[in-house]
Assembly symmetry: C2
Homo-oligomer: 269 residues x 2
């Protein structure tokens, strides 16, 4: 493997170049790439040139560079993201027709939620989540569902790490967060009211695969209007998440039914 | 740049590995990758190992390898595919509510249509197009719109190349195809009846960017039932394509209005 004087392989440097695009939506100049990827301009120039030739990057008429359709194509075609999206989209659409705001599906990547797909009504309220974007697990409904069903080690890592306060409704106390996660497992859904955006409420429910593992979370985001409003969306959300799980081969039983009587969860209390 | 004895760079071999996933939806063993990418097993093994370490590929519990979420994430986040999808999705959703079959958007990649996004009703009819999948331009409604608005050189290349007959309705005669493309430009939409699938009819309209260039085509796919049926979807399809174009900054004028009076196009006649 070819290594630079810094000992890094070509592929390591290439991934650094690709990741340089991660925080922008659009194109970069080679010198911006070199700065963001922390590579000498000559190295960036040479690697970018080769990546353009291979179709992984594309050069625009103004010489700026962006991710090429061919890289998107190979990355999308056999990605687990596509399998999930493909299974989920019809159910997401049905859900979206009912909710008419935002419907999204996300997975756990490290200690973040990575959103795979989103449908939004044209006049929908605000939503900080984006397709292929990340948000922290502890402050989003999708993340709370994924975290609640993640291995204990990961839960401890998140609970023991920095729990940033995005709004005054974000749960940043590990003890309260642990209790919230237990409630998510018990109830089969979560309502995360104004935890990352003071104007929005997220609701999420787990999506299971054929081994009944929680592999994704389905969520809807609605504007914050009153505490009573969002609860109305729970049945259709849970039904859609169960529909996707079933389509993925999960054995859905009555046990996994939601429990809304008796103990209304108050995650934002 | 490190080159193998065959003179190929690391990146060339890596793209060959990534493209090996292109025709499957799912995972591959290292020996399958080596065969598909036409690389020695040792080379495939070493590069796959490094790509797994970098998060570009992921190894499943059974040791099979698949595209990693991280590669999908970097490829999706700043891809032109995402910009287009993000702008188009709300309009696609409105269109989908009206049509309740399949709604999709595609771009020209080489001489193929590459589909970026698709919404499908759960009980929708058959549709051969897939997200991140390719289909030939001459046999699909999306492709005919893109080809009609592509540079003359590309049109000549397609017209002079092999025009495969997918069904007996595929237009394989260059003279008829040229006439059809002129009709697409004149009418502002196309109805491709049973050209790639004898059970399906595609309808497509152009999507323009701020320079008024046709950068994508929006389409709906409905089951073939009668010749009269699909025409009913033209107004809502064209309105949605114009909506996306407007959202992308195109200057939409009355000139680009559809013309349905007087000359009903008969592409499948």
């Amino acid at each position: 493997m070819a290594r630079s004087t810094s000992g890094e392989s070509v592929l390591t440097r290439t991934m650094r170049i690709l990741r340089a695009f991660g925080t922008v939506s659009g194109s970069l100049t080679v010198s911006e790439i070199s700065r963001r990827a922390d590579l000498p301009v000559a190295t960036a120039h040479r690697l970018v040139g080769e990546l353009v030739e291979l179709g992984a990057l594309e050069r625009e008429p103004d010489k700026r560079v962006r991710i090429g359709y061919q890289l998107w194509e190979v990355a999308s075609r056999s990605s687990p993201a596509r399998d999930l999206s493909r299974t989920a989209l019809p159910y997401m659409e049905d859900l979206q027709v009912a909710v008419r705001e935002h419907t999204q599906i996300g997975v756990l990547e490290g200690t973040d939620v990575l959103y795979l797909e989103r449908l939004s009504a044209r006049d929908a309220g605000r939503n900080v989540a984006e397709i292929a974007g990340r948000l922290p697990v502890h402050a989003t409904s999708t993340g709370l569902v994924l975290l609640a069903h993640s291995p204990p080690e990961l839960q401890e890592r998140v609970l023991g790490g920095e729990l940033r306060e995005h709004t005054r409704h974000t749960v940043t106390d590990p003890v309260r967060l642990r209790r919230l996660l237990a409630a998510v497992r018990r109830d089969g859904y979560v309502i995360a009211s104004r935890m990352i955006d003071p104007a929005a409420v997220g609701l999420a429910a787990p999506v299971r695969d054929r081994e009944n593992r929680v592999v994704a979370a389905l969520s809807v985001v609605v504007p914050f209007l009153s505490d009573a409003g969002p609860q109305a969306h729970v049945p259709v959300l849970v039904a859609a998440a169960r529909g996707i799980s079933r389509a993925m081969g999960a054995r859905i039983s009555g046990e996994d039914m939601i429990h809304t009587r008796g103990h209304a969860p108050r995650p934002s209390a």
